[in-house]
């Protein structure tokens, strides 16, 4: 038993040095967002610089909207950092949706690192104009 355990440890240290593990672990950042209410829905903008469209994951599970995005490969492999302000590797944030959102009609677009999500209000809750008839 002790032998097997020793082997496992040996394999791990050979495979990934602590520095390597540190580099591989994705640093998840909460993206800043703007959320506006419109007459016919809600619009969400999230800043996710570095995320290409194919690395984006927008999901709705019950009433929770989750946005996830991984930053693509932007730096060459042989780079040495000189100065770092931002060390995120991925973005993630979740929002609880109100009952008046029509989940089946959510639209998401990505442009220049900005994710835009439109959450339309379901027909029942949209403001309706009621005509007052004068007799």
């Amino acid at each position: 038993m002790a032998d097997v355990k020793g082997q496992e440890v040996a394999v791990k240290t050979e495979d990934t040095t602590p520095q390597e593990a540190q580099r591989r672990r994705p640093v998840v950042v909460t993206p800043p967002v703007d959320i506006y209410e419109l007459e016919d829905g809600v619009v969400l903008f999230a800043d996710m610089p570095g995320v290409p469209k194919e690395n984006l994951d927008v999901q709705v599970d019950k009433n929770v909207l989750t946005i996830k995005g991984e930053i693509g490969d932007i730096v060459p492999k042989d780079i040495t950092p000189l100065y770092v302000e931002f060390n995120g590797k991925a973005y993630e944030r979740a929002f609880t949706l109100g009952p008046d959102v029509d989940v089946s009609k959510i639209e998401a677009t990505m442009n220049a690192g900005v994710l835009k999500i439109f959450l339309p209000k379901s027909e029942e809750v949209k403001p309706k104009k009621i005509e007052v008839k004068v007799e």
């Binding site: 909460t30 800043p32 619009v43 903008f45 290409p52 100065y83 060390n87």
Partner: protein
Amino acid sequence: MFRPWFSLSDPIWQDFDMLSREMEKIFNENYFSPAGVAAARVPMPAVNIGETADKVLVYLFAPGLDPKSIDLTIEKNLLSIAAGRDTAKELGEDAKVTGYYRKERFSGKFRRIISLPEGLDTSSIEAKYKNGILSISIKKKEEEQTKKIEVKVD
């Protein structure tokens, strides 16, 4: 009357002002708020700098810019990047906004001045804007590049 010998509105103090505001934010907001709730508080736009054997690379995390509006200049070893965005215009003029829940994203103009390492060939500067990241690549001068020297065996 006592007068301050400098004004914080002087452009050269703006970076210090921004730095102190960022420090305040870190301590007042992120430090005591539950993990994961506070949004990423980095100065807009955040800058990363790195080097390879023959190049220095600058990355500016500035989403939502019009690439044509980016003003990039270099003077001696000072790289200056100026641009801006107006988040209010993203919705379009005909959008009927009735309110908002969050306004965390940067809106306005910015200028960042980056002091580059010495020994760069500033005539060979390349910049591209992709997925909200401005990548700038500047070649090192021939004599500053890391060279591999072959060891001969006699």
